[in-house]
Symmetry: C2
Subunit: 456 residues, 2 copies
Amino acid sequence: MTLTAAPLRLSTTSATFDAEFKARLHWSADADAAIEKVVADVLADVRQRGDAAVLEYTRRFDGLGPASMQDLELTQADFKEAFDSLPVAQRDALQAAAARVRSYHEAQKKASGESWSYRDADGTLLGQKVTPLDRVGIYVPGGKAAYPSSLLMNAIPAHVAGVGEIIMVVPTPARGSVATGGSGAAASSEGERNVLVLAAAFVAGVTRAFTIGGAQAVAALAYGTETIPAVDKITGPGNAYVAAAKRRVFGTVGIDMIAGPSEILVLADGSTPPDWVAMDLFSQAEHDELAQSILLCPDAAYIDAVQASIDKLLPQMPRARIITASLNGRGALIQTRDMEEACEISNRIAPEHLEVSSHEPHRWEPLLKHAGAIFLGAFTSESLGDYCAGPNHVLPTSGTARFSSPLGVYDFQKRSSLIEVSAQGARVLGPIAAELAYGEGLQAHARAAEMRLEKP
Amino acid sequence: MTLTAAPLRLSTTSATFDAEFKARLHWSADADAAIEKVVADVLADVRQRGDAAVLEYTRRFDGLGPASMQDLELTQADFKEAFDSLPVAQRDALQAAAARVRSYHEAQKKASGESWSYRDADGTLLGQKVTPLDRVGIYVPGGKAAYPSSLLMNAIPAHVAGVGEIIMVVPTPARGSVATGGSGAAASSEGERNVLVLAAAFVAGVTRAFTIGGAQAVAALAYGTETIPAVDKITGPGNAYVAAAKRRVFGTVGIDMIAGPSEILVLADGSTPPDWVAMDLFSQAEHDELAQSILLCPDAAYIDAVQASIDKLLPQMPRARIITASLNGRGALIQTRDMEEACEISNRIAPEHLEVSSHEPHRWEPLLKHAGAIFLGAFTSESLGDYCAGPNHVLPTSGTARFSSPLGVYDFQKRSSLIEVSAQGARVLGPIAAELAYGEGLQAHARAAEMRLEKP
């Protein structure tokens, strides 16, 4: 059967544009009551029974037969062995990517993650001390869909921040287990390991790792068990159970964003080879049927050319079926009045990935307010950013770039205000604080300030 | 009746210390099913019916009788009138506090909130663009318990970040309404307004303001109504309904932390007048019966002296009843082996407010890893920081300082990665990205990178 991928064609001059555009963007991640119930039970059980509960759920959901927690721990030797088993080209690529990601995040730390302070004329010191988290947990999805690049993108900023320990969890379900949708027949102590993920753990540097997943892994990291140390924050993507578990443990530990489907928006002025743009739209669409690829362009003939490239290139793609479903279900090719309007619409979308495929990208960049990552110029394919340009590929989705940021060193740091009021400063600040405290009816606050004015 | 405040006396050398200490720290904010149900319904209704639902809930819960949304909007003239009505000393104190808070947050923006970028040797540009949120909502609790200082602490960092519009909501329940626990008899269009809050709105600069509260106000800000504009983030404290509503709209908009009871930890070496320390413990305890005040000190005689100061000063305090309940229920005076151990215990607590009441605070500060704000030296009472030293008084509670930070300019900004790969850079990065993409089975990613190596 021949697949036909035809993203919805829209024009901003149409009277129905706003409604059609809104409908196409719509995506909602409503909580699933059945998932919530399972997750609440698993969390409570692991909190209560620790290792015993983790072992039980791992047997049940991943079809493994571990005798003890020791069977579920990966060692540094496992990581090295995986790394050494890779072809040289893959080893080199992993290390080159890691080096670039590290150097970008070191620049990020220097630019926005260092402690600072200053002294007032009266000697009062004010500032912020920036310190790393002690211990973080990284969730890595299991099986063949695991992305080693995501492990680099989570672990390296944590290292650069100075995090002391990085605990990785990665399910290794047996073939035929509940987790892989099979019959649950197997019961070995070791499931399917992803060699690239283990090799990435070697390259990125992971302190300890356990072959567990799902809500039970999130619970183990949040509350700690006899074997698994409790962490301060959990990052990394996972399925609906993992996402629900992360939401629920938030407050006990920190969490990163809960990601929606991936998205790309290409702002094109018609100067980029249409094949390049078509392939960039594919590279988002191939992730997932719910992924969203949108082209904004003022030139109708260019949009036709991109559609022709889509038709030509689609048959070559191994993941053509997913690409087709994504483009037909959620894709859009939108003709705008001009590039300025395209920028404005982009700001309404606040896309995860934003390609400015223009011969003058710096003309448009200042107009772009909301996006996870902005890829400037025709040579900057999103996929370069996904793997090795340096910036993080964990980005805000579903319009949350309006208020949130790429994963970064700052996610593995926290700040403490520093205040040292001098005796002289206390005489300036005391009366102000006392006046406001009395106004709020908080007399002990006022007295504490006033006492510093009196002879001790 | 004479009140007696006797915080639990503990010693780290006791065999039972760990258990007693853990029990005293325990605090749990379990979700209340009844509250969750009400909040879910209110959110859905406001999302669906907009203004009509907001009006209905405001009539029902706040005992007001607004004819339309217009009756619920405060004007700039209202703010100015409130400000002008204050005694000069209060006006001056508000403005002095605002000026100091502003200048601290400007330094914060400069130190950690500016855009940055660099170019590789091959001309590839990498960096991050830092931009303000477009529009934020600030929740201010209503009635007599409202704190104008909190409005300053929320609005000023937003302004410094460059946020375009600040929308304030502040319930003004009628006396005798459901919100004030009364009979619901009144039905005027105007409830009890807190003049200091309105004056603070004048000083801090608020774009628009509505006299609504509860889950309905959170819903209106998150989803928007015909009258109330949808915001990108909601900050500010509220009751259990407000907290539950904020958790539920997270993802649609950003939210700040969900605060637990306030806490102070005083690390004392015995050099500060005991009255000062006692009053600092009171100033936390007077907030709330669940507030927690803890003293850590290696000197038993000094701890006795602080207890004596507590006994002496308590009868003078208008809020003695709350202070007593807080100190008896949750307070602790802990004798440690030495200051080093005190620092270590402080790190286990990760307190919201940490006073280093020592004659050599800079000796201990480097040992302190986790705290919302660190107050150095005897003159730095927490209350100076609460009102006017400059740093934000919205701080992580309940041990969340292990992974989170004071409210700051960064909470009203977000970041977009910037990547511009040069033609030459694409030739370096393309093969690396393609190798890793093929390894992950994402062929369109690989092809998009490879196409940039081919002649267009």
